[in-house]
Amino acid sequence: MNTRKPDASSLQPNELEAVYAISRAIAETLDFDKALANIVKLARPVFIFDNAVLYLVNEKGSLEPAFARAIGRGRSSEADSAWGEVAANEAFTSGRNSLFQPDTKPEADRLQQRFYLGLPMLLSGKCIGALVFIRFGGPPFTKEQIHLAEFIAAHVTQVMEHKRLVDRVANLEAERRLTRMQSEFIATVSHELKTPLGFIKGYSTTLLRKDTHWDAATQLEFLAIIDEETDRLTELVDNLLDSSRLQSGTFDVEFRSVDLASLVEENVGRLQSRYPNLNIHWKTKGSDYLVEGDPKRLGQVIDNLLGNAAKYAPNSPVQISMESSVDQVKLSIQDSGPGIPEEDLAYIFRRFFRSAGTKDKVRGSGLGLYICDQIIKAHHGEIHVKSAKGAGAEFIITLPRQKLPQPA
């Protein structure tokens, strides 16, 4: 194997300059194609060649072209030109330079007289490919030129290794992100499941204690907690199922004519029984709020958004506004609570995302807004959020208007 390191002392000043320029070009760019194109361009004034081809070893262990440039004679012959596969293979398998130089015959077609120089790309004793330079009609490669070509090949090897490492890091990063998200999800879900279970188990075994007696009021207090925690567990399981149905595309939506205003009203009533201190203001513009939609799913969205306002902005008044026009109905739910940090706004509709600031304070699975977004999308509508830290949060839904069939 050729382990001789290229030695700069034998280079001419202009060659040395080109080599430095190549080094700089490599250091400055992370773009692999650009770096190679740059190397070819910078090498060209000090090193004559017509075609240059870079072959890299593929997963099967054979060479495959990764980059090619035809810059001199023979550009016109396109695919019929010479691409030096033999020279590349020899350099690759032997780990040494390979040189093919025909006897020059002045009368012959220059394009048929091909001079090949193949250079192995060696990286810590391993050959990762070969670089081939081709000259049509000579002149033959001199010892000095071969030496310069070795420099270029060494640089190209560095570029390739750099690219390989950058790709590898990017892949590992992506894998790590995925693993982290999955394990965070499992941790969150198991915590979310165990918390209500902990209460149900704790309070029911408390009531079942044989060695003590609880007065009626305390019994009712504990039973009410068990009841609420059971609801919470059900809600969480439903959310998990919905989320996985959405993922697998088996989420069902049954369209029919829905009056969005009465739907909101129903949900407000239900929520007020859960949060008696909830202070809700209504504002409506227009009168007809009929849309084409699934009342159960849309109710789920409204319940979720109102529930979030009650959970994340406790003691803050909630403003509900509705607006209808010819082609759409707009619903806005706005609180004046702590708001959502700007950096989180882009992520809040993502599955499992939870804002770092509230994650430890308010219980949740990171599924609610994801499900809302998906339901609204299934209705061909839009949901978006306006918020800033300390300035409350507003969720705005626009749903396309129902097109009622005209009576004949």
Partner: protein, 227 residues
């Protein structure tokens, strides 16, 4: 004497559950909702037992347990939703006496509390002064605060642990090997330079004249000592 139990959990519903069950057994219950409050109440109320939840905002149960152990031997039972070995071992290593994995039954909780209290009765819990003073240096273990020459000093976690070694063993000579093992871990026992740098930094922060140290003195060939 009434047995006082400090219950620490960020879920009011959970505190209520534990409180109701403990009161039937004649215990007095005091409540905290995060680790910080727990440490403060431990100093103020000197409870006979602490039930400490792990996952809490502000300061979690592990941190609170570690902090409390710096000045008290009061029995601590960790309450954790994570029953995996790593979690349990971590709590016990930090000085917890027992752990209960959620969800648990009321009877189990009461039984554990009584078992830990029985064991603890054989020796009374110690509450050393949560502060330590030497010359112009004072350390508040409960708050992990250090004041030197009348000024609050900001120490890194490692520097604080190193300082605690000297404070706990004031008057005793500590070898470089002991300090490295106790503060950095056994794999660092050869890394003398890291100790030298850290002691030098501590002196810069604490000593009136770091060139003539009075709080952490070098005993050539033996080790270091806080006189």
């Amino acid at each position: 004497m009434v047995t006082r139990i400090l219950v620490v959990d960020d879920e009011p519903r959970f505190v209520r559950l534990v409180e109701a069950n403990l009161q039937t057994e004649g215990f007095e219950v005091i409540k905290a909702t995060n680790g910080k409050e727990a440490v403060d109440l431990t100093v103020a109320e000197k409870p006979h037992l602490i039930l400490l939840d792990v996952m809490m905002p502000e300061m979690d149960g592990f941190q609170a347990c570690e902090r409390i152990r710096e000045f008290s031997t009061v029995p601590i039972i960790m309450l954790t939703a994570k029953g995996d070995e790593e979690h349990r071992v971590r709590g016990l290593n930090l000085g917890a006496d027992d752990y209960v994995v959620k969800p648990f039954s009321a009877n189990e909780l009461i039984a554990r509390v009584q078992a830990v209290l029985r064991r603890a009765q054989k020796q009374t819990s110690e509450f050393s002064e949560p502060t330590f003073t030497r010359g112009d240096l004072s350390i508040n273990f409960a708050r992990a605060e250090v004041i030197a020459n009348g000024q609050p000093v900001s120490l890194s976690a490692t520097e604080y642990r190193l300082l605690l070694q000297f404070a706990r063993h004031a008057g005793k000579t500590l070898t470089a090997d002991e300090l490295l093992r106790n503060v950095w871990g056994p794999e660092y026992s050869e890394e003398k330079e890291i100790l030298w740098v850290s002691i030098s930094r501590l002196r810069q922060k604490l000593e009136k004249d770091p060139k003539n140290p009075e709080l952490i003195v070098t005993l050539s060939g033996e080790g270091y000592r806080m006189p």
